[in-house]
């Protein structure tokens, strides 16, 4: 499967195992502009897989309501660039629902999917990587997969997780690579980074598309500089796995973070600052 097919497969499994699961968003009914929901409406009916009016804040607010009522909403934002009308619903409502209601109510069954990142022809409004905005919001989980196998496992984990999750899908990867992906149900742990290449001289951290860029860096650094890199895919941006990175940096003594988003206030800054603090104050050696 390639990545968009693995997303469809994850949605298919969710709709099959959970009769209250619903998949909806703009143009979702006919299969979605990235074809991630192809065939699902035919299979599960128009009550469970459907188009919504064109309003991101409406989609998010409506989805929160479904989750509050105990259903499992899986909402699609057509592009991460257009998630901002839903920012208030996500940040002030979804993220704070459990907290503000003293754990009496929650919308933990909510999952929001959104294609993110640059593909080369999307210009400024079809290319953004907005994960850092959401990373500043306690109560949310933010996840970005690097490939088809991870995409299905992590999306399934988001759907099953009892907290609201935002799942950003790097859209350049939708059709770029094929991996072996189980047809059946499986999930991968959230908030767990994965060490992809072990090394001793420097730790490289990335997520989504940047993992592939960093794989090339690992090779180049070895060939041209004789530098032995350790490569880590962060996978979950919030709450993030500080321990795996800190342990790696304790070993290599150097850290390089690559993300596609703007530099200032990017999530890389959070990692850089936190790892320095944690190596000084917490015992990871």
């Amino acid at each position: 499967m390639n990545l968009f097919e693995s997303i469809t497969s994850a949605l298919d499994c969710a709709l099959k195992r959970d009769p209250s699961a619903c998949v909806f968003g703009e143009d979702v009914g006919f299969g979605g502009v990235f074809r991630c929901t192809v065939g699902l409406q035919e299979k599960y009916g128009a009550d469970r897989v459907f188009n919504t009016p064109l309003s991101e804040q409406g989609i998010a607010g409506f989805a929160i309501g479904l989750a509050v009522a105990g259903a499992t909403p899986i909402a699609e934002m057509q592009f991460a660039d257009y998630i901002f009308p839903a920012f208030d619903q996500i940040v002030n409502e979804a993220a704070k629902f459990r907290y503000r209601s003293g754990n009496l109510f929650d919308c933990g069954k909510l999952t929001i999917r959104a294609p993110c990142g640059a593909v080369g022809h999307g210009a400024l409004y079809h290319s953004q990587s907005p994960e850092a905005y959401f990373a500043h919001t306690p109560g949310l989980k933010v996840v970005i997969p690097r490939g088809p196998f991870n995409a299905k496992g992590l999306l399934t984990a988001c759907i099953n997780d009892p907290n609201p999750c935002i799942f950003f899908e790097p859209k350049i990867l939708y059709r770029s690579a094929i991996e072996e992906v189980p047809v059946g149900d499986y999930s991968l742990p959230l908030s767990q980074a994965e060490v992809l290449v072990e090394g001793s001289d420097i730790t490289l951290v990335g997520w989504g598309t940047q993992v592939h860029v960093l794989r090339e860096v690992v090779k180049l650094a070895q060939e041209k500089l004789k530098v032995n890199c350790e490569l880590i895919d962060l996978r979950t941006i919030l709450p993030w796995d500080e321990e795996t990175i800190a342990k790696s940096v304790a070993k290599t003594g150097r850290l390089l973070i690559a993300h596609e988003a703007p530099l200032t206030g990017g999530f890389g800054a959070e990692i850089a600052a936190s790892i320095q603090v944690s190596l000084i104050t917490r015992a990871y050696y």
Partner: protein, 430 residues
């Protein structure tokens, strides 16, 4: 995909249909009119160039059952409420009024940080609340104490929330009057305006696909109706056919902003109707009308799986909140008119008196009783400790993530090392 040939076919069929259209009595057509063929549009062609304007159309009526003197105008419309229920409704309004008065004073004394009274909107809240099924999940904005009170959330529960004491179900995390309770099927309020409206639509959709035979209900002000969330919610509810009742409390003001600076057109009712929602405008000071309209809307919403909209008119007799002084922006004559003519509680009382269910003596004794109930609850709430400070860190996620655990431990360590600098004795545990 509809082919061009079939479109032409439909067009030919519709072309010669004779339609006499009476648009609010303004224009009559007697000739054959050609139908417009366009997806999602039902219309006829005209050769008159007319810009449609709500000013030229008949304004929506306002439904009432009793007049200002508490007399039922059309007996067939009088709801079938038992004497016991009617008296209970009245008592709720009276207790609510006393609670507001006392809580307002407590805020002035500095015992609570903030308060919002419902003065003028008590019967709107009680009447509509009584029209719902007790398990219909309701969402409020902030001026809905009477709704949750009707469902059994006690005066003590409310005062505890305002005090943020350790009896506050919400663990001291919200400003006063943001009530909520799972047991009473009432979702705790957010301070963000209008955000709750699409939530109620989502709940309604879930109820529909689970065949629960429940509807959801959502209250909001005419000011919040200007938020994008409101428009999205109305549209989603109509398009996705959700059994939800929208109750817009049009009380004339959004803090200081009068309705003329809030909307143009024929109020919120006309707007809701244009989304394709069955809509009624109701005299929100008439408790019988509020009850009857909500009950009917509720039954139809569940039966037909579609949304209903009630624009309830009830002038805000009080200030927006304790942080507000409405004499600065309200016209004194207008306020005086509503105090004399528009106070909904005396109007309800007249109705009960005519039925022989209430008199001056019961009024006097119950006022005393109501005041006592509120003061007793206040005294009890006032003695409670503040919530456990660790609640600052819990319920952010279902389980506390590792980094938050670390932050929590660092914070605890700091507090314990500096315990003399913090009012820990006022709090429950640590």
């Amino acid at each position: 995909m509809l082919k061009v040939s079939s479109l032409l076919n439909i067009a030919t069929k519709l072309k010669n249909v004779c339609s006499i259209v009476n648009m609010a009595g303004y224009r009559q057509y007697s000739q054959n009119r050609e139908a417009v063929v366009f997806p999602g549009i039902q219309s006829h062609y005209t050769e008159e160039m007319v810009f449609s304007d709500i000013q030229n159309e008949e304004k929506m009526d306002t439904f009432r059952i009793m007049n200002l003197k508490g007399k039922v105008i059309n007996k067939t419309m009088e709801p079938d409420l038992s004497n016991e229920t009617l008296v209970k409704m009245y008592k709720h309004c009276i207790i609510h009024k006393h609670m507001d008065k006392i809580m307002h004073e407590l805020q002035r004394q500095g015992r609570i940080s903030f308060y919002m009274t419902s003065r003028g909107e008590e019967v709107l809240q009680t009447g509509s609340a009584a029209g719902f099924h007790p398990e219909d999940l309701l969402f409020g904005q902030y001026r809905e104490a009477g709704v949750i009170f009707w469902r059994g959330f006690s005066v003590y529960d409310m005062i505890s929330q305002c005090y943020s004491n350790n009896s506050d179900l919400l663990k001291g995390r919200n400003m006063p009057v943001h009530y909520g309770s799972k047991e009473h099927h009432f979702v705790p309020m957010s301070s963000c305006l209008g955000t709750q409206i699409p939530h109620a639509v989502g709940v309604a959709y879930a109820n529909k696909i689970k065949n629960k035979n429940l509807c959801s209900g959502v209250y909001f002000g005419e000011g919040a109706s200007s938020e994008g969330d409101a428009h999205a919610a109305f549209n989603f509810a109509a398009v996705l056919k959700c059994p939800v009742i929208f109750i817009c409390r049009n009380n004339g003001y959004a803090i200081s902003t009068p309705t003329k600076d809030q909307y143009s057109g024929d109020g919120l009712a006309a707007r809701a109707k244009s989304y394709g929602i069955s809509t009624i405008r109701v005299d929100g000071n008439d408790i019988l009308a509020m009850y009857a309209a909500t009950k009917q809307a509720r039954e139809l919403a569940v039966k037909k799986n579609k949304p209903y909209f009630i624009e309830a008119l009830a002038y805000r007799l009080g200030d927006h909140s304790t942080s507000d002084d409405s004499t600065v922006y309200k016209n004194a004559e207008e306020q005086e008119y509503w105090l004399v003519q528009g106070d909904p509680i005396p109007r309800f009382r007249k109705y009960l008196q005519d039925k022989g269910l209430w008199d001056d003596k019961t009024e006097e004794s119950f006022n005393k009783e109501a005041k006592k109930e509120v003061l007793t609850a206040f005294k009890k709430a006032d003695k409670q400790l503040k919530p456990n400070p660790n609640f600052m860190f819990t319920d952010v996620y279902k389980e506390m993530p590792e980094r938050l655990q670390n932050q929590h431990q660092d914070w605890r360590k700091h507090i314990l090392e500096n315990a003399d600098k913090y009012p820990l004795a006022n709090h429950d545990q640590f």
